[in-house]
C-alpha cells in the first residue's frame, strides 16, 4: 500500500515537472524570429503595415505567410487576412536573408483595439 502511494506521488511530481517544462517551452516559442512592423495611416485612411522578415534559421524558406487578425473592443474579429509572402520554391529565402513586405487592411482604424500577427513558414 505504501509502495503504491510512493509510486503515485513520484508520478505526480514528474508530471508536475513536465508541465513546468512545457510551460517554459511555450514562453520561448512565442519569441520567434520576427521584427516589428511599422504601422501608419495612409492617404486613403487605411492602416498600412511594412516590415522585414529575417531568416535566422540555417534552412531555406520556400513558403512563408503572415496572418493578421484585427479585433474590436468586444474581442470580436473585424478582419482576418493571410498574406503569402513566399510561395515559390524556385525563389526561397536563404539563411540570413531579409524580405521586405507590405500590406494594408480595410477595417476602420478607430474600431480596431487588438491586433495579432502570426508567421507561418516551411
Amino acid at each position: 500500500m505504501i509502495l503504491i502511494q510512493m509510486i503515485r506521488n513520484r508520478f505526480l511530481f514528474i508530471l508536475f515537472l513536465i508541465l513546468l517544462f512545457s510551460l517554459s517551452l511555450n514562453s520561448f516559442a512565442s519569441n520567434n524570429h520576427r521584427t516589428p512592423l511599422i504601422e501608419t495611416i495612409n492617404s486613403s485612411n487605411k492602416l498600412e503595415y511594412s516590415g522585414y522578415y529575417i531568416n535566422k534559421s540555417s534552412k531555406k524558406i520556400t513558403k512563408l505567410s503572415i496572418r493578421f487578425i484585427a479585433k474590436n473592443k468586444y474581442g470580436e474579429i473585424l478582419e482576418a487576412n493571410t498574406i503569402r509572402l513566399i510561395n515559390n520554391s524556385s525563389m526561397p529565402l536563404g539563411p540570413g536573408e531579409k524580405l521586405y513586405y507590405s500590406f494594408m487592411i480595410d477595417s476602420d482604424p478607430k474600431n480596431i483595439y487588438t491586433k495579432k500577427l502570426y508567421f507561418f513558414n516551411e
Binding site: 511555450n26 512565442s30 519569441n31 504601422e39 511594412s50 522585414y52 521586405y100 482604424p109
Partner: protein, 233 residues
C-alpha cells in the same frame, strides 16, 4: 467527523502555504513587468526620436520609407533585440491631425501623452492588464508635436517566464513549508496521560470477570467435593 476535521485542517494549511507562494510569485512577476515597462519606454523613446528626425523632413508619411530609415540608422533587428521575453509586434506611428480628426484611437490625452484610462490601453483578463502600452510624442525641430509612437507589449509570456524560471524554487518552498508545518504539528501534539495498571480493564468487563470467577470457584469446589466422596468410598 474526526477525519473531516483533520482533512479541513490539512486543506487550510495547504491553502496558506500556496497563498504564501502565490504572493512571492506575484512579487517576482511585478519585478519582471517593471523591467519590461522600462524597456518599452526606452524603445518607444528611441523610435520617437528617429520619427521626429524623419518626419520633420518627409511629407509622404510612408511606412516603407520610415522602416528603411530605421533600418539604416539603428537596424530593425537590433532595435528589438533588447527584449528577451516578449517583443513588440507593431510600432504604430500616428500623426496629430489623424488623432484630432478621430481617424484613429491612439489612446492619448489632449497633450498627446498616454491616457491610462483609455480602453484601448487596457486588456484586462485574469485579474490584471494583459498588455503594456508605451506612447511617446515626436516633435518637429524639438518644438511642434507632429505625432506619436505607440508600442504594445504582451504581458502573458511574462507569467510563463516567471513561473518557469522560478519553478524549482516554488517547488522546494512548498516542500519545506509542508515539512515545517508537520514539525510544528509534532511540537504541539498533546501528550497522552500515563496509563494506570488497572485502567486497561473497562468497568463493564469487571462484572463479567466476577461472574466467571464465581463459576470457576463453583467448578473447583464441585471438583473438590467429588474427590472427597471418592476417597471416603
Amino acid at each position: 467527523m474526526y477525519y473531516l476535521r483533520r482533512f479541513i485542517i490539512i486543506l487550510v494549511i495547504q491553502l496558506l502555504i500556496l497563498s504564501f507562494i502565490s504572493t512571492i510569485f506575484i512579487f517576482n512577476f511585478n519585478l519582471e513587468r517593471e523591467s519590461l515597462k522600462i524597456q518599452s519606454k526606452q524603445f518607444t523613446e528611441l523610435v520617437a526620436k528617429q520619427a521626429g528626425i524623419f518626419f520633420s523632413n518627409d511629407k509622404s508619411r510612408s511606412s516603407k520609407d520610415f522602416l528603411a530609415f530605421l533600418d539604416s540608422k539603428i537596424g530593425i533587428d537590433e532595435l528589438s533585440s533588447a527584449f528577451t521575453i516578449t517583443k513588440p509586434d507593431i510600432i504604430s506611428v500616428y500623426f496629430v491631425d489623424d488623432i484630432i480628426s478621430g481617424k484613429v484611437n491612439a489612446g492619448v490625452d489632449e497633450n498627446f501623452q498616454k491616457n491610462d484610462k483609455s480602453e484601448i490601453n487596457q486588456d484586462k483578463r485574469f485579474f490584471f492588464n494583459n498588455k503594456y502600452v508605451a506612447i511617446k510624442p515626436f516633435y518637429k525641430n524639438n518644438d511642434e508635436t507632429i505625432g506619436v509612437v505607440r508600442v504594445e507589449v504582451d504581458n502573458i509570456p511574462l507569467v510563463l517566464r516567471t513561473l518557469s524560471t522560478n519553478a524549482v524554487f516554488y517547488l522546494l518552498l512548498f516542500l519545506i513549508l509542508n515539512n515545517q508545518a508537520f514539525l510544528f504539528y509534532l511540537w504541539t501534539k498533546k501528550k497522552r496521560p500515563p496509563v494506570d495498571d488497572s485502567s486497561y480493564i473497562k468497568e463493564g468487563s469487571i462484572g463479567s470477570i466476577k461472574i466467571m470467577q464465581k463459576i470457576i470457584n463453583q467448578i473447583i469446589e464441585d471438583h473438590k467435593n467429588d474427590s472427597n466422596t471418592n476417597d471416603k468410598k
